[in-house]
Amino acid sequence: MSTRAEPDQKGADVSTTVPANVEPAVSPRKLPRVRRRAGKKRPRTRVAVGGSFLLLLILASLVAPLPYSPTVPDPTAVQQAPGGRHWFGTDQIGLDIFSRTLSAAHVDLLLALAGALAAMIVGSALGILASRRGVLSEGFMRVVDLFQAFPLLVVILTIVSLTGGGTLVLILTIAIVSVPGFIRLVRAEALSVRESRYIEYAEIIGASRWRVIMRHILPNVSGVVIAQLSLAAAAAVSVLAAMSYLGQGVEPPTASWGSMIESGSAGIGTGQWWPVVFPAAALALSIVALNLVADGIDAVLSRGVTNDR
């Protein structure tokens, strides 16, 4: 009924349908308030908290000494509940959950980040290229549409079984499934940047196409791209866990959160919660941290404008 295209008519409509004696106007505290100062500092804190958590987790996973080996089971300590000897308990074959959860952090997070990074580079380039108006870029976007019409898991599993798995394949798979997000985002941003005056003037002065892209478009889209990188990495962590859960992700002896959750899921019906809950918590916390970083960057970028997506 109402659209923003015709606010005047809309207003007229409203005033005629409303009797003059409706209850007193909405109390002032219900009105949208301007309160920017207070929330001003928080975005940066979000980035700092999320970022340092991830950094610490990865560093600890890489260099900290583990109490037990994450890949060699101890047959004398099977299915032990969390306690003094095994902080997070042990699983059915006697692997220490704490060591595995921590050592899986750098595997899962670095793979996800690498995949998202690759998607960012390729996706930004394609997105900027596709922001030029023309039949070619329209056609390209329809191909992206078509690609996204395939079920995500089918795409992933097909690629993995096509190539046989391995670290490089996992990174590539994550990159392929995250690329459409970057293409769409960068294209949308670049399209609006291309409309601005300074691009027009730069072209009039005779700036080359390359210079316009590198000096004017790229810096203006870089912010949203970095925020999207964090979001894509969060999605990638979850996708990687799902793949490992299905046995198509990180190869078995190496610890990964997804395969830990899978092997622990058998015991959940009989009360052994720790083999599932600890890797699941690590997974969830990492995703929260990545989302915090993305949110924070978004908020910093939009400055005074409240443009939260």
Partner: protein, 363 residues
């Protein structure tokens, strides 16, 4: 994420492109637009079918060897290949595939030896039932959170909602499922064990759609329907959890900008009731939300696989994933075609609904 493409589709009809003649009647262009999309539907499906066919055939591995085992003689392997119809060159196989497709057949599954159409028919409704329940939960719960966040933007309820949403967003559906199973069936016993659509001791209702809840309702067996409902709750919530976060985020931002819009300011100035203000704001906010709904509806059919696996649901998606790992070529083709078709139809319906809701076109 994919909202942009749909939005541009809408803009294309609203503002005539330079160079084309201005449309005489909007309704005319609307009908032409819809007709064009319907005509394009089989073309798109054909492209999807072709792409999938060659992609699946590029998969390494020999289905004949999988069936016959490692010690089969070449003659036996050749015979199995003949039976499966994969002895012919790829081009011939492709034309046979298209020919079958035209006649409504998808071939015979390598693993179940049933027609793929039968395999799909027995599994699609359980997945659809689960998907609908999950989306229903996600929409109701997500919009509730989102609207609370928008109404009390930047205040206590908003930050609570923000926290809830970021937790929901961070827990993948299968993890949510496992944790919920532990808490609600093992710890407290509120809900039944994850044994699929019904308990092991329940008698299943006469199979019409193969979805337990729908079948029980059709047969009028209320106790069975109640059991089926109880078994549906956990998988639906685990699936809907992440989706609800998307609805909450989008609901909050669109509702918030709608509430800050000039017409709502005017409505407030007129002293409209809160209910009416919310109603007018939601008419502004609804289009992106419907877009998200269609995208979720289109994407969810392939995405239920792991949750179906966790709850031994026996649906289409987990079957499709199994087919990929077993290199069951006809089954994979059937799965991708059906889910692809549903996705494309969902987008088509979405575009029509958005066009019909847009007064600039409807006028």
């Amino acid at each position: 994420m994919t909202a942009t493409s749909l939005n541009t589709a809408v803009e294309d009809t609203a503002t005539p492109r330079p160079g084309t003649r201005a449309p005489r009647g909007s309704r005319h262009t609307l009908i032409r637009m819809i007709a064009l999309r319907i005509v394009a539907l089989p073309v798109l499906l054909f492209i999807v079918a072709t792409l999938t066919f060659f992609l699946v055939h590029a998969l390494p591995g020999d289905p004949a060897r999988d069936i016959a085992g490692a010690y089969a003689t070449p003659a036996v392997l050749q015979q199995i290949r003949q039976q499966l119809g994969i002895a012919a060159p790829l081009g011939t196989q492709y034309t046979t595939f298209l020919d079958q497709l035209m006649h409504g057949s998808l071939g015979t599954s390598y693993t179940s030896h049933d027609p793929v159409t039968t395999d799909i028919a027995t599994r699609i409704m359980p997945t659809v039932e689960l998907a609908i329940a999950a989306v229903l939960f996600a929409v109701v719960w997500g919009l509730l959170l989102g609207f609370i966040g928008a109404w009390w933007a930047n205040r206590r309820p908003d930050s609570v909602v923000r926290g809830v949403v970021s937790i929901e967003q961070a827990i993948p559906d299968f993890v949510a499922g496992l944790v919920l199973i532990f808490l609600l069936t093992f710890k407290t016993g509120v809900l039944p064990q994850p044994t699929g659509q019904l308990g092991l001791l329940d008698t299943s209702p006469p199979s019409v759609t193969h979805a337990a809840l729908i079948d029980a309702l059709l047969a009028g067996q209320w106790p069975v329907a109640w059991q089926a409902f109880l078994h549906l709750v956990l998988p639906a919530i685990s699936l809907g959890f992440v989706i609800a976060a998307a609805f909450a985020r989008l609901g909050r931002s669109t509702m918030k900008s709608a509430l800050e819009g000039p017409q709502i300011e005017f409505a407030r100035a007129c002293g409209l009731r809160r209910r009416q203000i919310l109603y007018y704001a939601s008419t502004v906010a609804r289009t992106p939300l419907i877009t998200l709904l269609a995208m979720v509806g289109g994407a969810i059919l392939g995405g239920t696989a792991i949750v179906e696996n966790v709850f031994s649901w026996g649906g289409l998606a987990s079957w499709g994933v199994d087919s990929i790992t077993h290199k069951d070529v006809p089954a994979v083709l059937g799965f991708v075609l059906v889910t692809g078709a549903i996705t494309i139809v969902a987008f088509l319906i979405l575009d029509i609904v958005v066009l019909l809701l847009d007064p600039r076109v409807r006028r």
